[in-house]
C-alpha cells in the first residue's frame, strides 16, 4: 500500500481496439510510480465496488489501460467518452524484473496480455532479449502484436481456432522457445497449462474478485504453499514455486 494513491484522471481516449476490447488513456498525477504487473482500481458510477484493471503502459502523466467489456461495470466503462475517473493507483506487487535473466519469455492470454506490455518495455530498456507469446481465441480478438514488435521483442501469436498465427494454445507454442525465466498473465486454464509446460522458474499474475483491492477486506485470499495470501496485496503476481494449483 506504500505506492497506493487516490487521484482523479482525465479520460483522453477510450477506443475499441479488438472484439469487446477497449483501450483507455488517462491523464493525471502519479502514474510514474506504477510498476509492471501492478493494477489500478477504477470507480465507475453507479457501481459500489471499484473495478481492478491491470496497467498496460505508463508515459509521464499518461496511463494506458486495456480492458475487456465483460460485465456491467466494464461495459459502462467502455461507453465513457470523456470526463474524469477516480482511480486508486499503485496497487499490487508487480513482476520481479530482477529475475528475468537474459532471455525472458512473456506469455499472455486474452485480456492478460496488457500488463506484459509495460513489463516488456522495462525489460527492453535493460536490453534483455524479450520473447513474447500472445494467445487469443480467434483473429478478431487480437491486439498489441505490433506494439510488442515495435519494442523489439520476438512475438508469436496463437489462436485457438487457427484463424491467425499458430493454431493452438500458448502452451503449445512455448515448447519451441529457449528462455531464462517466464512471466505470465491470463485466464486460469492457461496459467495451469503454462505451469505444466514451463521449463524454468517464473511468475504468474492472478485474477480474483476483489472487495477493496488494497488488502483490507480479505475477499481475494488464495491458498499458497505457506498459507493464504491476498491477490490484491501480496499478489497479483506469485512465484511459480509458491503456488498451489487447484483442480
Amino acid at each position: 500500500m506504500r505506492d497506493m494513491k487516490q487521484s482523479l484522471f482525465e479520460i483522453s481516449e477510450n477506443k475499441q481496439i479488438a472484439l469487446n476490447t477497449y483501450r483507455m488513456k488517462l491523464r493525471g498525477e502519479g502514474p510514474e510510480a506504477v510498476r509492471p504487473g501492478q493494477f489500478v482500481n477504477v470507480k465507475l458510477q453507479p457501481f459500489f465496488l471499484r473495478r481492478p484493471i491491470s496497467v498496460c503502459d505508463v508515459n509521464e502523466d499518461e496511463l494506458t489501460l486495456i480492458y475487456k467489456a465483460v460485465g456491467e461495470g466494464t461495459k459502462a466503462m467502455s461507453k465513457l467518452k470523456d470526463g474524469t475517473l477516480d482511480l486508486l493507483t499503485g496497487l499490487g506487487n508487480g513482476y520481479d524484473l530482477s529475475r528475468s535473466g537474459e532471455r525472458p519469455l512473456l506469455i499472455g492470454g486474452g485480456v492478460g496480455v496488457p500488463p506484459l506490455y509495460l513489463l516488456a518495455k522495462e525489460l527492453r530498456k535493460q536490453e534483455k532479449h524479450v520473447q513474447v507469446i500472445l494467445g487469443f481465441n480467434k483473429k478478431d480478438e487480437i491486439f498489441m502484436e505490433k506494439e510488442f514488435k515495435d519494442l523489439g521483442c520476438k512475438v508469436i501469436v496463437t489462436t485457438a481456432d487457427g484463424s491467425y498465427g499458430i493454431k493452438g494454445f500458448v502452451s503449445d507454442a512455448m515448447k519451441d522457445f529457449e528462455y531464462s525465466y517466464f512471466y505470465s498473465c491470463g485466464p486460469m486454464p492457461m496459467l495451469k497449462a503454462v505451469d505444466k509446460t514451463a521449463k524454468s522458474e517464473g511468475e504468474f499474475s492472478f485474477e480474483e474478485r476483489m472487495g477493496c483491492g488494497f488488502g483490507a477486506c480479505m475477499g481475494c485470499s488464495i491458498k499458497v504453499k505457506d498459507g493464504y495470501k491476498r491477490v490484491c496485496k501480496e499478489g497479483p503476481v506469485f512465484e511459480r514455486k509458491e503456488i498451489l494449483w487447484e483442480d
Partner: protein, 303 residues
C-alpha cells in the same frame, strides 16, 4: 472536550468515527494512507482463538448500492494478534481500540477475551455474535436471547473493559436479543452486522459466492440499520454503536439522531479508503450547517 467528542461506557472518543471490524484489517495498513490517529477509535478484524483461513473464493459479490461478503472470519488467531498485529498498530495508533472477538463456543469467546484483556491498547470489547458466514459460530450465539446473554456474561466475567455485543439483523426481534445482552451485563451494543443475502451468476446458474450466501453491507442497508438502532436504543439503557451503510457526515448525524452514541464505518472503506478521514473533516461543516454545537447533544434526538 471538543465538539465531536463522545463517550462510550466511560471510554472518551475524540470523535464518533470508528472503522468497522473486517473493513480495516488491524489498522496499520491504513496508516500508510493517512494519519489514523485522527479516528475516534478503530475496530480490528474479528479475532478467534485459533487461526482461521476463511471460506473459499469467490468471497465477494457486488449488489445494488452495496456488496456481499463471505470471508469467513479469516484471522491469524488471538496469540498471533497479540504478538504481531497489536505491536504494529501501536506504532501508528495511540488511542484505545475496539477488540472485536468471536468464538465457536461460550468457552472460546471467554478465552479470547481473557487473553486480550491484559492488552493496554484495548479500550473495549466488541463481541461478534452475528457473523453470518461461519457454521457453528458467530450468528449461532446471536440468534437466541438465552445464548446471547450467556456469552455476554461469560466475556464480562473475564474482562476489565467495557463489553459491547455486536448484534445480527437476521433475527425476528432484535430488541429481545438486545435486552438479553443488557441483562447479561453488557455495557453497550453494536448494531447491525450484515444482512444475509445471495447472488446467482446467470451464465453459470450457480451462486456467485462460493459459500452460497454472504452478508450484505453498504448504503443499501443504511435504512435497516437506522431503524434497528432507533428501536434498540429506545429499549435499553446502554450506549449503542450504529453500524450499517454509513458513508458520509450526514449519515453519521442521522444515525446518531436515531440513538447511536458513535458509529462504525464499514464497506465504505472499500469503495474509498480515505472515507473515514473525509467524514471526520466533513462533520464540523455539516454540523454548522445544521446548527449543531456538540455532536453528543444530538444522540437519540429524533423526535
Amino acid at each position: 472536550m471538543g465538539r465531536l467528542s463522545v463517550s462510550l461506557a466511560g471510554l472518551e472518543l475524540d470523535n464518533p468515527i470508528i472503522p468497522a471490524s473486517g473493513t480495516f484489517g488491524y489498522g496499520y495498513e491504513f496508516a500508510e494512507l493517512y494519519d489514523i490517529d485522527i479516528l475516534g477509535s478503530l475496530a480490528f478484524k474479528t479475532t478467534t482463538l485459533n487461526k482461521r483461513y476463511g471460506n473459499p473464493t469467490p468471497r465477494i459479490a457486488e449488489t445494488a448500492s452495496g456488496m456481499l461478503n463471505a470471508i469467513g472470519l479469516q484471522n491469524p488467531g488471538v496469540d498471533k494478534v497479540i504478538e504481531e498485529e497489536l505491536p504494529k498498530l501501536r506504532n501508528c495508533f495511540h488511542k484505545p481500540i475496539v477488540a472485536n472477538i468471536s468464538g465457536f463456543s461460550v468457552e472460546e469467546y471467554k478465552e479470547v477475551a481473557r487473553r486480550l484483556n491484559g492488552q493496554e491498547q484495548i479500550g473495549l470489547f466488541e463481541v461478534n455474535v452475528s457473523c453470518p458466514n461461519v457454521s457453528g459460530g458467530g450468528i449461532h450465539f446471536g440468534n437466541d436471547p438465552a445464548l446471547a446473554k450467556e456469552v455476554t456474561a461469560a466475556v464480562k466475567s473475564v474482562s476489565d473493559k467495557p463489553v459491547f455485543i455486536k448484534l445480527s439483523p437476521n433475527v425476528t426481534d432484535i430488541v429481545a436479543i438486545a435486552k438479553a445482552c443488557q441483562e447479561g451485563g453488557a455495557d453497550g451494543l453494536s448494531l447491525i452486522n450484515t444482512l444475509i443475502g445471495m447472488r446467482i451468476d446467470l451464465k453459470k446458474r450457480a451462486p456467485v459466492i462460493a459459500n452460497v450466501t454472504g452478508g450484505l453491507s453498504g448504503p443499501a442497508i443504511f435504512p435497516v440499520a437506522l431503524r434497528m438502532v432507533y428501536q434498540v436504543s429506545r429499549a435499553v439503557d446502554i450506549p449503542v454503536i450504529g453500524i450499517g451503510g454509513i458513508g458520509s457526515a450526514r449519515d453519521v448525524i442521522e444515525m446518531m439522531l436515531a440513538g447511536a452514541s458513535a458509529v462504525e464505518v464499514g464497506a465504505a472503506n472499500f469503495a474509498d479508503p480515505f472515507i473515514c478521514k473525509k467524514i471526520i473533516e466533513e462533520l464540523p461543516v455539516v454540523m454548522d450547517e445544521l446548527g449543531i454545537e456538540n455532536i453528543r447533544d444530538i444522540i437519540g434526538g429524533c423526535k
